[in-house]
């Protein structure tokens, strides 16, 4: 028997497909992976400490920088936490606007995340750039309502900062005319491609029980076959008023996660349709005028609120001591916790699969390192 030598390789922190400054210390036997250790913290900026120093309102723009693809969702989750803590009512229109923004975020996140994953797989950016086009269209609309494309800073306690107007609704309807074509093109491009099947099927398998033990959430958990969606499990905002389905996978491999994300984009589209239909008129207002935004004080206590971010369960755990800023501010970041399953998913596969599996978890280092 020939003796083989194991090789240790640092994939990252500067590497084309680690999605930011993230390092995987892998031990390989030839091309086969023996061990993987994720190393991170390169982007750590002590976000949680900032949240304890800032007042509640001041912290809102910092949440944009967590998962910078979905700042709207981050804002929503944070606003919901503080609203729970301080007992703030949110007008119905604001709830609908938040849902619309969340679902638009979900579409743009999944479009680009799947594009990046396929890029890691070697599909030369075509799927990514088609996704980027849809993302641009959505970001332009975000810019219109919030003033910024990515760092939206859109939610306020008890509502949103600016109402959506006719222009926005017209453009949203136009966007939704185009989206199904995009979904079809995207599916036609690669969904059944033999090479994709070879690369994605039975790769990075995370069985159902292991997925639960690893605390993964979002499309990764659903890809493993657990139909757990916070929009259904603990409906927030007005999600209980929409009819939509929760897509789940069966095997829990890269292909299942890929399919679940595509199906989720289509479900988001359905939610958008219903939200536009049900959107109440502007008489109810888009923000609770009674809330003192700048000098908001919450009674001593704690609150945890979570939303279904495109990447999983995004929650904020805030402890208040009755002053205007949080005593303890903790982010339950989905990318961070989903990442703990990476090593187990990768073992036994090859280096080429590792980057694909990492892409299929869909992490953002801004959220992982906080």
């Amino acid at each position: 028997m020939l003796k083989t030598e194991e090789l240790q390789i640092n994939i990252g922190p500067q590497h084309p497909s680690t999605h930011g400054v993230f390092r995987m210390l892998v031990t390989v036997d030839g091309e086969t992976l023996v061990d993987l250790k994720p190393v991170f913290g390169y982007l750590h900026r002590n976000h949680e400490q900032l949240g304890e120093v800032n007042t509640y309102l001041q912290n809102m723009p910092f949440t944009d920088r967590l998962d910078y693809f979905n700042s709207m969702v981050n804002n929503h989750a944070y606003a919901r936490t503080i609203e729970t803590l301080a007992g703030v009512e949110v007008p119905e229109r604001a709830q609908y606007i938040r849902v619309i923004m969340d679902e638009l975020s979900r579409i743009l996140n999944h479009a680009t995340a799947m594009g990046f994953m396929l890029g890691d797989m070697g599909a030369w950016q075509t799927a990514l750039l088609w996704g980027m086009r849809e993302r641009e269209k959505i970001l332009d609309m975000f810019e219109y309502v919030s003033g910024a494309r990515m760092m939206c800073n859109y939610c306020r306690f008890g509502g949103v900062v600016r109402d959506i107007d006719d222009w926005f609704i017209t453009e949203l309807k136009k966007l939704m005319q185009g989206l199904p074509h995009y979904f079809d093109d995207f599916e036609g491009l690669l969904l059944n491609s033999e090479i994709l099947l070879a690369r994605a099927r039975n790769i990075g398998v995370l069985p159902k029980d292991l997925a639960l033990a690893y605390s993964v959430t979002g499309p990764v958990l659903r890809g493993s076959g657990v139909a757990y969606d916070i929009r259904k499990a603990e409906p927030y905002a007005v999600y209980d008023r929409f009819k939509f389905k929760v897509p789940v996978g069966t095997v829990g491999d890269v292909y299942d996660r890929f399919l679940v994300r595509i199906a989720e984009m289509r479900e988001s589209y359905k939610i958008l349709e219903q939200a536009l239909e049900q959107l109440p008129d502007a008489t109810g207002g888009f923000i609770n005028p009674k809330v003192k935004q700048q000098s908001l004080k919450a009674p001593a206590g704690e609150a945890y609120a979570r939303v279904e971010s495109p990447k999983g369960e995004l929650g904020f755990y805030v402890v208040s001591d009755g002053t205007g800023s949080a005593y303890r501010y903790k982010v339950r970041a989905p990318s961070f916790i989903n990442l703990s399953a990476l090593a187990d998913m990768c073992k036994g596969y090859t280096i080429a699969d590792v980057v694909v599996i990492l892409g299929s978890i869909d992490i953002v280092m801004g959220e992982v390192d906080r």
């Binding site: 491009l189 033999e194 399919l259 700048q294």
Partner: protein, 332 residues
């Protein structure tokens, strides 16, 4: 696993295409779609509408520009009244207090005769390099003195220059009116009313002694007056939608823009360091008059030229002094 919280019709299992016979048909379909895209992008019309998913969709940036939505926020600026040259800021410290990264530093003006505080800022320094563009300062300002600019071409090789002081933060109200007509018209009346009240409490030139507005005793107000008339027209011509002009030929805008840039550059070269700023400051006015219909995007150029100048050593020294004073105040 039982899923008691979900009805069965709420869950569906994604189709994994297990039963298919694979003979390259999936790959061929993908090739076909990509070729269709190629054909449409090469021969079809460019992507001009949000409903389009075919055709080229990129904007040739320096020549073509997307119109900025009114709400767009980049860096904060301070406003002054065209007619009187009075700054709207009263140094109420609201923005300094809310600013999440704490980059605003204000010193209140004092009446030299009595030593009492006057509703005007003596110094106003903003660190553009650390600003996170959250827009809270503009949101909380009770006097509508601080607003978010639309100009985003601020890159510089000179980092200290990004500590921007009062002189370089000031823009006329008419400029803000061109970039955000509806947002300004919403607040215009009360802002002006508050300003008139404050002017009464400002002795002498306090509150309008920054920038080059009144240099040489002749207020720029005279030159600014026509702009006040022209600006609403320019504002009205501005497309409201942020992407209304995606992919369209913007040659008219482009030429106006180029002319404006050239004029500003020529002004910068022509005048000395001291004289350049007033000319540049007047540039938006001139453009607003000259190219009112197309001025919407062209107008911002003038003040930019002023920002582009190198920040002198004493300005940095000033900023340091202000910071030191702050530290002293906090008793460190």
């Amino acid at each position: 696993m039982t899923l008691s919280h979900l009805a069965t019709e709420d869950v569906f299992v994604v189709e994994r295409n297990d039963a298919d016979f694979r003979a390259g048909q999936g790959m061929t379909k993908g090739l076909g779609i990509v070729f269709r895209k190629f054909r449409k992008a090469l021969f079809g019309k460019p992507n001009s509408d949000r409903a389009d998913t075919e055709g080229q969709f990129n904007v040739q940036y320096p020549e073509e520009r997307l119109a900025m939505p009114e709400a767009y926020r980049n860096m904060p600026i301070l406003l002054y009244d065209d007619a009187t040259g009075h700054e709207l800021c009263t140094s109420c410290f609201q923005c300094e207090r809310i600013c999440p990264p704490q980059v605003i530093h204000i010193t209140q003006a004092k009446d030299p005769a009595t030593g009492k505080p006057v509703p005007a800022a003596a110094k106003f320094v903003l660190e553009y390099d650390t600003c996170m563009s959250c827009g809270y300062c503009a949101e909380v300002c009770p006097f509508d003195a601080i607003k978010m600019d639309h100009d985003f071409e601020l890159s510089t090789a000179n980092h200290p220059e990004l500590d921007v002081d009062y002189n370089r933060l000031l823009r006329p109200v008419s400029y803000y009116e061109t970039i955000a007509p509806t947002m300004w018209s919403d607040v215009k009346e009360q802002a002006m009313k508050k300003l008139q009240n404050n002017i009464k409490r400002r002795p002498g030139d306090i509150g309008r002694d920054h920038g080059q507005k009144i240099k040489g005793g002749a207020p720029v107000a005279a030159a600014a007056t026509p702009a006040a008339g022209a600006a609403p027209a320019a504002g009205a011509a501005k497309p409201r939608g942020p992407v209304a002009a995606i992919g369209k030929n913007m040659s008219e805008d482009k030429t106006a823009k180029l002319l404006a840039i050239r004029a500003a550059n020529a002004a910068k070269r022509g005048g000395g360091a001291a004289d350049a700023a007033p000319v540049a400051q007047a540039a938006p006015v001139a453009e607003a008059v000259a190219a009112a219909p197309a001025a919407a995007s062209a107008a911002p150029t003038g003040p930019v030229a002023a920002i582009g100048q190198n920040m002198s050593e004493d300005k940095r020294a000033k900023l340091e002094a202000i910071r030191a004073a702050k530290r002293a105040e906090r008793g460190e």
